[in-house]
């Protein structure tokens, strides 16, 4: 995992509407400009005002892909935050709060209490957001960040709103900084200067950017948490990049518009969460039957039904496996982190164009809404674009067969509007020339031929994608198996376990369909003890692995409380299973929001 010498986490808690996002964003930018890595996770509820929001931000000079196990600094914007989270803060940590309105709680575990007399430090009692800026100043001092750095960030942030706004914020932050310098104890370690400046993005940004880089020209959506970030990115960039973005009446309309635009020839994309995905599924089958390439993103949240709209889960695997009626081929991929999400988009669009089929990308709230640092040089904004057997020029030859039964099963597909390639795409079963088989012409031999033609396309697809790789010592005592967004969390747990003398390696699965069953079995047949880690109750991946390979894991670590795993949850789960205490470990969620 390459953990560095500095590993610091701070949290900001308050209620919706108290302006947590702004200090979070300002601090994030300070961190990445310094070349430090960042991983943030925001725990929140589905309300616009009130409730409890808890933003965790972890900072390191090594690469980090999760929000970590501990907190060093807590900024309380309301009493509720103090009451809920004081117990998490032990000796050596700091709790920063507005001492005018917030009292220390009753669960003192040894943190330094850093109360800020906000009213006395500012003459601006009218602005209830002022405590955030005073707090930011104090945090900058405590962390060992020069005030000039904060001043620069505040200037960048507020300059659009005029010099007066900049001056006021800088003045208030300075008051917080100076007060902290006089009264509080600096942390022992201050953030080192990392390498070159990094960038910051969310998983939803990465998915949208990946789509744009892959040549998406049509994006449709109906707002749904936690996928709405993809829509917002697309909407903000649409005009500049020549992407048509439509917010549609429902996800049924979204999916069907995407299929229609793709049939006419554009690369087309949509994103939603499980509920919206349920409405899209009939159109996914339509894309399969008409052999139209298009991509559907499902950003998973805790279900079923409305479920917990603002919480994470890996609960939709079987939903996407079974999406739409009938027996047909689809691509399903679960990216491992934000950069992987970005890269996956170009890869999956090339695959759908080559194989003329629908593809489903399953992300989840944890990576989609989390914000992470990324090395900008690793973001390839000009990936290879391969549209497969696409006819783009008119022709005077007769006898075009849209669904020609070729050796590979792949039939050249024409852009709509070309002379010489007039054809119908039908959701009814059809012949090579699109004539319907399903009404008066039903013909079992042709039906069999067309089913086999479509299926044959996938005979070679596995060779186009990378097989999963076992990471860590080959002869480890324990093999942890995960899928999708848990990659960075499991990897860190593996590092900690090995450091503590428990020999563990790690196999993370990204491609669900097609599935590298043989390659995976070649790895698993040599393992000693296998534990599957997943963010759901029933072990959806464990069941899928067994259905595809016959392999049943020895143990399981599962979490289904809406919150993501932290590395120590997995460490504890492995230790409990190595010690023979259980073969299914359900970690306790310490931070409740």
């Amino acid at each position: 995992m390459g953990l560095g010498t500095y590993d610091f986490a701070l949290a900001i808690g308050g209620e919706a509407g108290q302006g947590i996002a702004t200090p979070g964003d300002i601090l994030a930018r300070i961190i990445v400009r310094r070349g430090l890595h960042l991983s943030t996770y925001n725990a929140y509820q589905s309300i616009v005002r009130g409730g409890h929001i808890f933003l965790t931000m972890r900072i390191s000079d090594g690469e980090i892909q999760n929000h970590g196990d501990k907190l060093d600094l807590l900024l309380c914007l309301n009493q509720d935050t103090m009451n809920r989270h004081q117990r998490l803060m032990g000796p050596g940590t700091r709790i920063v709060y507005n001492s005018d309105s917030i009292e220390p709680g009753t669960e003192d575990k040894g943190a330094d209490l850093c109360g800020l007399p906000v009213l006395a430090l500012t003459d601006n009692s009218r602005n209830r957001l002022v405590q955030n800026t005073v707090g930011m100043g104090a945090i900058a001092f405590l962390m060992g960040i020069d005030f000039s750095v904060l001043e620069e960030s505040l200037t960048l942030r507020f300059q659009r709103r005029g010099q007066e706004m900049v001056d006021e914020n800088v003045k208030v932050a300075r008051a917080g900084f100076d007060y902290a310098e006089e009264h509080f104890k600096l942390f022992d370690q201050s953030p080192p200067s990392g390498g070159k400046p990094l960038a910051v993005w969310s998983g939803n940004d990465a998915l949208a950017m990946g789509g744009a880089a892959a040549g998406v020209k049509f994006y449709a959506a109906y707002p749904m948490s936690p996928a709405t970030g993809v829509l917002h990115w697309m909407a903000n960039n649409a005009r500049n990049l020549g992407i048509i973005v439509r917010q549609v009446e429902d996800e049924i309309g979204v999916a069907n518009m995407v299929v229609g635009a793709a049939q006419a020839g554009t690369r087309s994309l949509c994103a939603t969460s499980g509920g919206g995905f349920a409405l899209m599924t009939e159109a996914i089958g339509a894309a399969a039957m008409m052999e139209i390439p298009c991509v559907f993103i499902n950003v998973m949240r805790a279900g079923p039904s409305t479920g917990v709209p603002t919480k994470t889960e890996q609960g939709d695997l079987w939903q996407v496996l079974g999406a739409s009626q009938g027996d047909f081929e689809r691509i399903i991929v679960s990216p491992l982190d934000t950069l992987d999400a970005f890269n996956t988009m170009a890869e999956v669009f090339n695959l759908t164009d080559k194989y003329q089929c629908p593809a489903i990308v399953i992300s989840d709230l944890y990576i989609s809404e989390g914000r992470y640092s990324v090395d900008p040089d690793k973001i390839n904004m000009h990936p290879n674009i391969d549209r497969g057997a696409l006819i783009t020029e008119a022709s005077d030859t007769d006898g075009y067969l849209r669904y020609k039964d070729t050796e590979s099963g792949i039939s050249p597909r024409a852009l709509a509007g070309l002379e010489g390639y007039v054809h119908v795409a039908a959701t009814d079963e059809h012949d090579e020339d699109s004539t319907l088989l399903s009404d008066e012409f039903t013909n079992p031999h042709k039906r069999r031929q067309m089913v086999e033609k479509r299926a044959r396309k996938f005979d070679t697809i596995l060779s186009d994608i990378a097989a999963p790789v076992l990471v860590g010592p080959a002869d480890a005592d324990v093999t942890l198996i995960g899928w999708g967004s848990t990659d960075g969390i499991i990897a860190e747990a593996v590092g900690e376990l090995n450091a503590a003398g428990v020999s563990v390696n790690h196999l993370q699965i990204k491609w669900m369909v097609p599935f590298h069953g043989e390659e995976i079995m070649a790895i698993l047949s040599k393992t000693k003890k296998t534990i599957i880690v997943e963010n759901n109750y029933s072990g959806q991946f464990a069941r899928y692995l067994r259905s595809e390979t016959g392999f049943a894991a020895d143990g399981h670590i599962r979490k289904y409380d809406g919150e993501p795993f932290a590395p120590h949850h997995i460490v504890d789960g492995v230790n409990a299973q190595v010690n023979g205490e259980t073969d299914k470990y359900i970690p306790y969620q310490e931070i409740t929001v």
Binding site: V200, R239, A264, E282, A426, L436
Partner: protein, 294 residues
């Protein structure tokens, strides 16, 4: 639409398959009128995409020689909107029935009218579900007995004309499938109209609807043009569209000149059809995106 001289006949727009409709089905007349309209307008088969949903009338794309999509039940307008966004230079016709368009597809009907997407939507309205062998439809009259309403339909039918006008469609007409000349004229006006054109066509089901027959319509139909109807007067249009008794009007009820979706979509201002554009990002655009993340 092409401006060069092309002498195609309705026969050139005959599809690969022969219609599987019942003898006497109103849909034959609609198909003939569409083929006649597009031939008379000088289109070539590859200038047009015909998109349908599911149902007897939705089989139409297989019977006409144009690009086509025979999609899902109720989803023709959504699919067609996608097609039109991807290639706004194609003439997109949407065909289907009353159950497909006003029932299961009702939400898309409402919102397509609101968006005023430049589609020509021809609904073969037979006031019954035919392919499923005769159940009540959203346009079935009160009292009508069908297999699913053996004691008579109790629900008020939808009025496609007033609904379309209220929701923002900018070309709203009604025709009768027994009058191919009038249909062809209205279809041509609808295709020429920039914006969402909806033409509701009484297209009798000779097998399952024994109430709204050819004779039923022949006795009642009056033409709006004979009354000197002003097509910019949406209030009178709605009043006349509500009549479904001794007098039933056909013709163009309403035509407005609100901008179509393609006209207000900035991405389509220049650069040709989206589907034919170069893929991938310009270097400068890509760099700006990265810079904003720093």
């Amino acid at each position: 639409m092409t401006t060069t001289e092309i002498n195609l006949t309705p026969r050139d727009f005959k599809g690969k398959s022969n219609p599987d409709w019942c003898a006497g089905c109103g849909d034959f007349g609609v198909l003939n009128a569409i083929q006649r309209a597009v031939a008379e307008m000088g289109f070539r088969p590859h200038d047009i995409m015909t998109v349908s949903g599911i149902g007897c009338s939705s089989n139409l794309p297989g019977y006409i020689n144009t690009y086509g999509m025979h999609t899902l039940h109720g989803r023709s307008l959504a699919m067609a909107t996608g097609v039109k966004m991807a290639n706004h230079e194609m003439n997109v016709l949407v065909t289907g029935g009353d159950g497909d368009g006003y029932g299961i597809g009702g939400n898309h009907f409402t919102h397509t009218a609101r968006r005023n997407t430049d589609l020509t939507y021809i609904v073969m309205n037979n006031q019954i579900y035919g392919l499923t062998t005769g159940q009540v439809s959203p346009t079935s009259s009160i009292g009508m007995t069908t297999k699913s309403t053996p004691f008579g339909n109790v629900e008020q039918p939808i009025n496609p004309i007033t609904s379309a006008i209220m929701n923002g469609a900018t070309f709203v007409a009604r025709a009768y499938s027994g009058d191919v000349r009038q249909m062809s004229d209205i279809f041509q006006q609808g295709i020429r109209h920039k914006g969402f054109s909806i033409i509701d066509v009484f297209s009798p089901c000779v097998t399952f609807n024994l109430t709204n027959t050819h004779d039923f319509f022949k006795e009642r139909i009056k033409k709006l043009e004979d009354d000197g109807h002003d097509t910019s007067d949406w209030k009178t249009a709605c009043e006349k569209a509500m009549l479904f008794g001794d007098e039933i009007y056909t013709g163009v009820f309403y035509e407005g000149d609100r901008s179509s979706l393609e006209d207000v979509e900035p991405v389509l201002k220049e650069g040709g059809p989206l589907a034919y554009r170069k893929l991938g990002l310009e270097k400068d655009d890509a760099q700006k995106i990265i810079d904003r993340m720093m």
